[in-house]
Amino acid sequence: MSINTNEMLKKLRSKQDLEALQKELISGRKSDKALIAVCNGTACHPYGCTQVIETFKQQISQQGLQDKTELRITGCHGLCEKGPVVVIQPGDIFYQQVKLNDVPEILHETISKGKIVDRLLHADPITGSKIVHRHEIPFYRKQKRTILGNNTEINPVKIDDYIAIGGYIALAKALLDMTPEQIIEEIKRSGLRGRGGAGFPTGAKWESCRHAPGDIKYVIVNADEGDPGAYANEGLLSGNPHSVLEGLIIGAYAIGAHRGYVYVRNEYPLALANITTALNQAQQLGLLGEKILGSGFNFNVQITRGGGAFVCGESTALMASLEGKVGEPRAKYVHTVGKGLWDRPSNLNNVETWANVPIIINKGADWYRTLGTDGSKGTKIFSLVGKINNTGLVEIPMGITLRDIIYDIGGGIREGKKFKAVQTGGPSGGCLPESLLDLQVDFDELTKAGSMMGSGGMIVMDETTCMVDIAKYFLTFLEEESCGKCVPCREGIKRMRQILDDITEGKGNEEDIDLLERLSATLIDSSLCALGSTAPNPVITTIRYFKDEYEAHIKEKRCPAGVCKALIHYYIVNEKCPGCGLCVKACPQEAITFMGKKQPVVLDESKCIKCGACYDICKLEAIGIK
């Protein structure tokens, strides 16, 4: 049985209605059909997952397997590095990097005959042996996929899947069995802290908003995940939009808000589409709108797209944008829970924060408190990216170490290179060195080290990453994203970026580090909003932990990582060059000369613009950079 949203749906008017529907849906799911879950997450799209799904549909029909097989199109499974990803039940069989011509075989061998297709299995990174079952894969073993784990159990655009796995039971409990005060108390006791970056205690925030004077209040989902390299919110919002919605409705009830907003980043079309579908389905079933589940509570939600502005991830700028104005932040001396959207009490929380609410209501604060550290309860989703082997979305219990994440889950550094730094917190965060790999990841530990949790980006860097270039990168980013309202941020970031430009071009001088530090102090103290006040973090942490690189650039005019164009030279590694001439053709400047077969080519440095074309095309590592 499945709910077709085109039919006239019966609205759920009570907890019993919901429970009855759930029972019906669960029995519908219990079958002896094999289940093929294929990831349709954004990160799998570049791998052609859409075509893989289409091929499965065709082939299931062609092989006459409709009665034996159910195909489930899901959101992100997490191991984005190995997409397209397919998981088969029963057996929790994990197939990776599935190509179109693997599909018939999977159906033929695994579904029909119960045999494993070896070449599609994940190989243990150390032993090399193949692993059949998903839960045995090292990437998954150390994670605690409390929130993200549900992605593989549902089709995000089918509310019946969500209800079948227990969705909206927490809402029923909250609306019909609990008072708003009790809900707030439970959230407070759970220790849930905001997952958007600052980590403010969620329960306390809800409480302030509830107590703020005024009848009209708002709740807002901040899905403007702007940190470059972070797509944790995307995976959650597109993979399980109902979990966010359910949390939002519970929060609205607790706070006394009857209108909610979901502000989705413009660059996330899939998340936008899926939350919109989820919203419509929830409305049809009476989980939104008037008298939800037969309670006296009315609540409606509007979905708005961002316009492409990182600063709109800041709560007051987001609210300005919702009011139809430019995304300029304002001073928060009066908090937004008191005066926010249209000067009314507004409670804004991150996507992941809202998604944690249903599970806290369902399983209780005591259960939630068993996860995490003293100061940071629960789990955190990170997008583990960069120079890492297992790129993807990971969910970890607070308190595991960076080393665990990077090596046990992440599988270590790509291409056999050496770890250099890990960056968390986006442009507001910092770069942490090898000496801090045993840091236990939680809000306070990261802050102490000079970084911050942020919304979930965790970018791994290796010996080929120049830390001065990274500082420059973040400042360049922030310079473009600054709203421009206040002097310290607008002018200060520009000046810092100019200094870093000079340093990376070999024009740095002794006073530069001191000037960067002075500018940093002013930005931290005097900026209007957190964009400006946290902008110095990448600079400060790289100076703190990688000063030697700054000194090499400034004193020796040298880039140890071989990145800064003005300070590097491309050269031919004569011993490795067989004279194939591929690089000669690739060079846009005709700077490389073919010297005959089996003779190394010759590079004329004066013509070289360091575009990297030769480096990329040579598969024999015969082009060097120093």
């Binding site: 954004t42 990160a43 799209h45 570049p46 791998y47 984005c80 590095e81 997409g83 702007g226 940190d227 470059p228 390299g229 972070a230 797509y231 995307e234 995976g235 413009n266 660059e267 996330y268 708005t304 797209r305 961002g306 316009g307 492409g308 502005a309 990182f310 944008s321 919702l322 009011e323 139809g324 104005k325 430019v326 995304g327 997008s383 990216v385 960069g386 120079k387 790129t391 993807g392 960056q423 986006g426 980006g457 970018i459 860097m461 990453t465 990274i470 990168y473 973040f474 980013f477 994203e481 709203c483 690739a586 846009p588 575009c611 990297g612 074309a613 480096y615 990329d616 095309i617």
Partner: protein, 149 residues
């Protein structure tokens, strides 16, 4: 144009707070924000022209100049940056002889950058008209561009 723009405004009930959404729909319809459309928005929705213009120039989603037939988005997110996205961008700029933000003379391509599309696993990533290209390297650029006439 009048009718289309009115339809868009009506879709949002002429609600001034939905200005950004109105502009996004206009941008999607015309691939840029035509001046006439913006004046119409100002008149019809009762928003001062200056306030429509400041919103149109604040957000990166909007272009006041007509865009090319194909929109190239080079991801400059941190993960892609660390994997060499800057070189890819330079390569495309050189290949098309335009700078980022620009449009080719024949209006075939507009080159924009984006800070993270959520494809970090396949970085460096480039998106052209909704089609994603992962694991980009400088030697792949010409081949990818050739797919779009």
């Amino acid at each position: 144009m009048n009718e289309k723009v009115n339809a868009i405004i009506n879709k949002y009930n002429g609600d001034r707070s939905q200005l950004v959404s109105v502009l996004q729909d206009i941008q999607a319809e015309y691939y840029y924000l035509p001046k006439e459309a913006l004046f119409q928005v100002s008149e019809t929705m009762g928003i001062p022209a200056s306030r429509v213009y400041d919103v149109a120039t604040f957000f990166r989603a909007f272009s006041l100049e007509p865009r090319g037939k194909h929109l190239i988005n080079v991801c400059l997110g941190t993960a892609c940056h660390v994997r060499g996205a800057a070189r890819i961008l330079e390569n495309i700029e050189r290949s098309l002889t335009i700078q980022r933000g620009g449009t080719t003379k024949d209006r075939r391509f507009t080159l924009e950058t984006v800070n993270c599309m959520g494809c970090c696993a396949v970085g460096p990533a480039v998106k052209i008209d909704g089609e994603y290209f992962g694991h980009m390297s400088t030697d792949k650029v010409d081949g990818v561009l050739a797919k779009f006439e």
